[in-house]
């Protein structure tokens, strides 16, 4: 019985895997750009000869690289279908939207993990920093929990291309840009204008970063360039709790929003290949 749900879910994962490997040259170009972009940001810390700044920037680029890649894969899943000319058939498949979107999201997570590992390896060529003493396992746990909330955000953003075939895909970038701005990826949130700061507390990335900085020991007074003093996982339980809560709320909300948008598209005739 469970197989009836798991098989179609895996089918989406494998479809996206096959498509991604066939577009490998594109993936390579984008990853190369991401490595260079990440390096230019992280090298600012190196230039200042400040290991805390370097690690803050490094953590920021990697975490943002992971979360934004995942968000993008989910948010643009509809645009990709429209681009391939297969949107109608996928929406006609006799599977629930939950199965469909979980499959898409699962691939997005796997893809983002590998992409981030490649970027990390690429960055090692430019920047040598010691992460000895950092709680890397804890960082991984935070990333996985934060993925849930970003999955929910991606599902909500995915309706934009459904609602506007012409401008929807671009609109997902605006949403992503706002998250980048308010989440304090490369700077503390308190440097933002006071009217923007409340928005930071609505972004899951803010909590993920705060937790990861503690786990890495970036701001711990006893941390040195050679030895970091990473916090135990128990010290970031409040952040983990908020991230988990966000995920628990945002995923069903994302599915609900997507379902509502799909019904609207069926009424208005927007569910088609072209605008």
């Amino acid at each position: 019985m469970l197989e009836r749900y798991l098989r179609p879910m895996w089918a989406f994962v494998f479809r996206d895997w096959h498509l991604t490997r066939r577009y490998m040259s594109w993936v390579a170009v984008f990853v190369f750009y991401a490595i260079v972009n990440s390096a230019t940001i992280a090298l600012i810390g190196k230039a200042q000869d400040d290991f805390r700044l370097t690690l803050t920037l490094l953590l920021g680029v990697l975490l943002w690289s992971f979360l934004s890649a995942m968000y993008n894969e989910i948010a643009n899943s509809i645009s990709y279908e429209r681009w391939e000319g297969t949107l109608e058939y996928t929406f006609m498949a006799p599977v629930s939207r939950l199965v469909h979107l979980t499959g898409v999201s699962l691939f997005a997570i796997i893809f983002s993990v590998f992409r981030t590992i490649v970027i990390l390896v690429g960055l090692v060529l430019f920047i040598q920093v010691s992460v000895s003493g950092a709680n890397l396992l804890g960082v991984l746990v935070v990333l996985l929990v934060a993925s849930l909330a970003f999955m929910g955000l991606g599902l909500m953003a995915a309706i934009l291309p459904v609602m506007s075939p012409e401008n929807g895909a671009q609109a997902t970038n605006i949403f992503q840009g706002i998250l980048l701005l308010v989440s304090g990826i490369y700077y503390p949130v308190n440097v933002l204008p006071s009217w923007v700061q409340p928005l930071a507390y609505l972004s899951p990335a803010t909590y993920a970063l705060e937790a990861c900085r503690k786990l890495m020991g970036i701001n711990h007074p006893d941390s040195t360039p050679d030895k970091l003093v990473g916090a135990p996982l128990s010290s970031v339980l409040p952040e983990l709790g908020i991230l988990l809560l966000m995920g628990v709320v945002l995923i069903p909300l994302g599915l609900l929003v997507f379902h509502t948008a799909e019904q609207w598209a069926k009424r208005t005739g927007k569910l088609k290949r072209t605008g």
Partner: protein, 240 residues
């Protein structure tokens, strides 16, 4: 097998389909004929659960298109002239992907791919090619194979020969007759009347969202002195 009762579709003030009713029985090919913009595609999209009717109802394979859309989709296949499959997937990967939605995997999937390949004259080696490397006719065969892999009771074909060369068009028309011969229910929507003359058992003329005529093919041909196009025009003139 298909029951459409006074179905309507409106986009704000524009009435695309205005109270169409028709029935199609198993083993029958029903031609939904009319010029571009007549409402054929809108009607088929409502049957395919891609559009929600504004009024009226429709049942496909016994299931309501609004309330039981998942069941409708399980029993339905659709081939559209402009529809595509993933260019960068191989034929086999396309069928594997879509087959998994219909409980087809492992030996059952292999067996079903064999069946569909025989029916459509697709060589197994072609299935290992990426779709983009196939001829247009072969790509259309993959589109059809995808649509019938689960052996749906109902198959909708919407301008399915658009853009096809003479060989691919011939293969598709032959397939339509062959599939109806298996006891399946088909709706063949086109503005090319000569195709309908060849494959349809009954026809409905649709114009400006209204079904202006319905009858057996022979009756329709008689109305146009042996020509379906003439019958269509005469019927419209009569309606006006």
């Amino acid at each position: 097998m298909i029951e459409v009762v006074r179905i309507e579709k409106a986009y704000r003030k524009f009435q695309a389909v205005r109270g169409i009713s028709f029935e199609v029985r198993p083993g029958e090919v029903y031609g939904l004929l009319g010029p571009n913009g007549a409402g054929k595609t809108t009607t088929l999209r409502m049957l395919a659960t891609l559009l929600r009717p504004t009024a009226g109802s429709a049942r496909v394979a016994g299931f309501d298109v609004v309330r039981q859309s998942l069941e409708v989709r399980r029993n339905l296949g659709i081939v559209n002239g402009g529809m595509k499959v993933y260019d960068k997937l191989t034929g086999y990967e396309v069928l594997d992907f879509f087959g998994s939605f219909y409980d087809l995997w492992g030996p059952r999937l292999k067996e079903r791919i064999g069946w569909v390949a025989d029916l459509l004259h697709i060589e197994q080696t072609v299935l290992n090619k990426q779709v983009k490397d196939m001829s247009t006719g072969m790509q259309q065969k993959i589109v059809i194979a995808r649509a019938i892999l689960h052996q749906p009771q109902v198959l909708l074909l919407d301008e399915a020969t658009a853009g096809l060369d003479v060989f691919a068009r011939r293969a598709l028309l032959d397939f339509v007759k062959q599939y109806a011969g298996l006891g399946k229910t088909l709706v063949y929507s086109t503005h090319v009347m000569s195709e309908a003359e060849e494959v349809c058992d009954r026809v409905g003329f649709i114009h400006q969202g209204l079904l202006v005529y319905e009858g057996r093919l022979q009756e329709a041909l008689a109305l146009g002195s042996g020509n379906l196009e003439r019958a269509f025009i005469r019927r419209l003139e009569g309606a006006a």
